[in-house]
Amino acid sequence: MIFTTSIKLEDISMVYGVNGKSHTALSNVNLDIKNGEFISLIGPSGCGKSTIIDLISGIKVPTKGRIFIGDEPVIKPGPECGIVFQDYSLFPWMTAYENIFFAVEHANKNLSKEEVKKTAHTYLDLVGLCKFKDAYPGTLSGGMKQRVSIARMFAMHPKVFLMDEPFGALDSLNRIFMQDLLLHMWSEGESRNTVLFVTHDVDEALLLSDRIGIMSSTPGKIEEIIDIPFSRPRCRKSLSGTEDYIKLKQYLFSVLYCEMQEIIESQQAQKEAL
Amino acid sequence: NSDLTKDKENQTTADKLRIGYLPTNGHALIFVAQEEGYFAEENLDVELFAFQNSAEGINAIIANKIDIGGFGPSPLVYASKGAEVTVVGGLMGEGAGVIVKPENADKYKSLEDYKGKTIATVRMSSGDIFFRGVFSNAGIDIKEDLTIQEIESPAAVLEAVKSGKVDAGIVWTPYMEMAESQGLKVIAYSEEYYPKHPCCRIAVLTDNINTDRDSYVKMLKSLIRSYKFIHTNPDEAVDDVSNYVKVDKSILKEAMTNEHSYLSPDPNRQGVLTTYELLKSIGYIEDNGVDMNDHIDVTLYGQALDEILTEYPDDEYYLSMKADFNNLDK
């Protein structure tokens, strides 16, 4: 496999039309993700992060602009993008194991049945759910569903990881496990995967990313893209104490906050009026 | 019996014949011929197919899925529409009547008394056709002076009369007898107005007459013998018929032996032509230039009768049938 998996968003706009009214979710978004790069997106709720993932994967079609994965324009979804959806999107009629098995089987057509089985088991183990192999998603807890969804994506070995708040429903320890697993998977092969990672946790973004895109809303756009200069491998403990880290974090917040100052004030006023 | 063995020596394989019927005592001739083995004696291998209404039966004939069948006035209607079917014999005649609640029986002294009444009928049944004719001939406008309610089945007509939703109903044998057993009264019979009128006719595909003439004649011969059997052994005949018609045997016997209907394989050309004219006059079919004579072939029945008569020259039943034939089929 040749990993020419840079991602390019060219002047993307996305307008949803609902009940006759139209709502601009994204406006003139440009983004270049290099081959093997790990980019995080941070932004307020509803700023269009999930929409960007849907667009890159080909699930939705932009109102304006073009998207390329490698040199190919995105026309329809395909198995080159692995996705962890914000709402997990497991198939409810398949058990945890079957969900992974099914995805692996169809994403990698040249694997033998045995290999598929083994892969599915391995990744279910990796997220700590081998005991819940035969459980249907309806009987899993929120965090368990999310881990199955993560395992499914990794097991598919896609070129591109598109992850939408993948660790949001996990407790801190499981979150750490998963972060480590992600970094491991990312840097494992001959060449690195290209990763687009949506998170609300600034520390997580700082720990994982090469660059962080900060978004703002109404209409959703990318406000600024910040390079994260820390060398890899990064150590969770030692990193968070450094001065660079704290400065960067503060800067990130300032960009995120700045345009929200007014909202804060208006909300505060309302709450007092209550 | 010697005939039988002789036949068997001459012909090794029996002629296959697929006959369609309706489950009514009007088709008694067919049932008796089958049960008494007359078909077999004529070296016919008969398979019987039951239909619930005439239209489907005629369709099966047209589609060549059955060879021959005895169905109400449908052959005439289909012939008028250009279907290549021909009447070669008959099964039953007369046998329709008007039923009312007993307390109302006295109200109908003449046909005039039907004016303004509501009458239930089963469309296209013989009774329906002939009583429409009766009323028209009596100067009653069947559209203006009567309310005719068409209902799907004779049993439902009985219910409509009993529940008082209609004043009178037109049904046929054995439903007249059934109605009487339930306390209703028959106040008029069709033969009072159209003596000897035909009911179910035997029809075949015109194209097949030449090729299969022999088996058709054999079939008619069997029916002629049934005719005699029914008249000479009525009780056994009722037993035979009851295998096909699930009506209380006493009602069946009453229906098969009373004088309000008759069973006969005679094609009754005159009757058919009358019926055809009637169908036109009551507006059931249009006059589109079809000559019904082209759709009646009495020669098969004539041949069958003659062949029987050469075997049994002095049989009074067969002779009387011959007399009827000469009368009705010129």
Binding site: - | S74, I151, E152, A160
Partner: protein, 308 residues
């Protein structure tokens, strides 16, 4: 000019015009000929006109429209050529288009009257079925204990053929038309009931749990939670019921009817007027399409929250 025609569209045009020319120029075989085939020609012109108007009116849906009209014209083409001209099938049972459309010219009054008289039964019976089956289904689906009893019972009753109801409804109901309406009702009842019960069963338990925490009264639970949540399935049952109502029409109008679409079909069926039978069926098909058009609109509106 905004009027753009793709290949399919051109093909449709060509076929329709070919049929037109064929009908005018080539004489019918005697068994398929009619005195006056102007009705058929009028229908062809109507289709062409409708095609052009539709394409003009909805330029965005060109593909859909041309597809439908293409199929329609191919069907008419084959019908006219194979059956009308070449008579590949028994002309007695299979009337050509000229004969069938001539029926509309002759019988239009009868058909239109029939349409209205049928609609009274249909609307009455169908609405009654909706009004009873949906609440019953919601309640049965919701109350486990009731379900355990009512469901097997209704399964045992449901396969009773409408013909078996005939004599009973004649005896027990006050008028013949009440009996006819009852038959439509009973035919439409089961599909809606089954659709509703299955719909309630399919509701995501989490939504029901959420609703339960609001302490809703049973009535509100039915009306505001179970009904909308089961609605997709109810619509499916109601659509099937609609189809079945029209099928039952031929049985319902066996009772003392003197007009009606069902009556028209069985009446002519009995008299072997297959051209009229086919014409009647075309009318029924057209009526169903018109009704389901509104049905689909209502459905789209009621389910506007779905799949966005």
């Amino acid at each position: 000019m905004k009027f753009k025609l793709n290949k399919t569209g051109i093909l449709t045009f060509v076929i329709l015009i070919a049929v037109f020319i064929l009908t005018v120029a080539v004489p019918d075989a005697p068994s398929q000929s009619v005195d006056d085939n102007s009705a058929f020609l009028a229908v062809l012109i109507l289709i062409l006109a409708a095609f052009i108007i539709e394409i003009y009116r909805k330029p965005k849906e060109t593909e859909r429209i041309t597809d439908i009209f293409l199929i329609l014209s191919v069907v008419i083409f084959l019908w006219e050529v194979l059956i009308g001209k070449l008579i590949l099938l028994d002309p007695f049972l299979f009337p050509g288009p000229a004969r069938v459309f001539a029926v509309f010219q002759d019988d239009y009054e009868l058909i239109i009257n029939g349409l209205f008289s049928s609609l009274t039964f249909l609307v009455g019976g169908y609405l009654l079925a909706l009004a009873l089956a949906i609440p019953a289904g919601l309640y049965i689906g919701w109350r486990k204990r009731l379900f355990n009893v009512a469901y097997p019972i209704s399964k045992a009753i449901s396969p009773i053929p409408p013909t078996a109801y005939l004599p009973y409804s004649i005896v027990l109901l006050p008028t013949f038309s009440a009996a006819s309406t009852f038959l439509i009702f009973i035919g439409a009842f089961w599909p809606i009931l089954v659709g509703t019960i299955f719909g309630v069963f399919g509701i995501d338990k989490r939504l029901i749990n959420t609703a339960r925490t609001l302490g809703l009264s049973e009535r509100v639970m039915m009306k505001d939670i179970l009904l909308p949540a089961a609605l997709p399935s109810i619509f499916s049952g109601a659509m099937i019921a609609l189809i079945i109502s029209f099928i039952t029409l031929t049985v319902a109008e066996m009772i003392a009817a003197t007009s009606g679409l069902g009556w028209y079909i069985i009446y002519n069926h009995q008299f072997a007027n297959y051209d009229m039978v086919v014409a009647g069926i075309i009318v029924v098909g057209a009526v169903v399409m018109v009704i389901t058009y509104f049905f689909d609109r209502i459905q789209a509106y009621c389910l506007r929250w779905q799949n966005i």
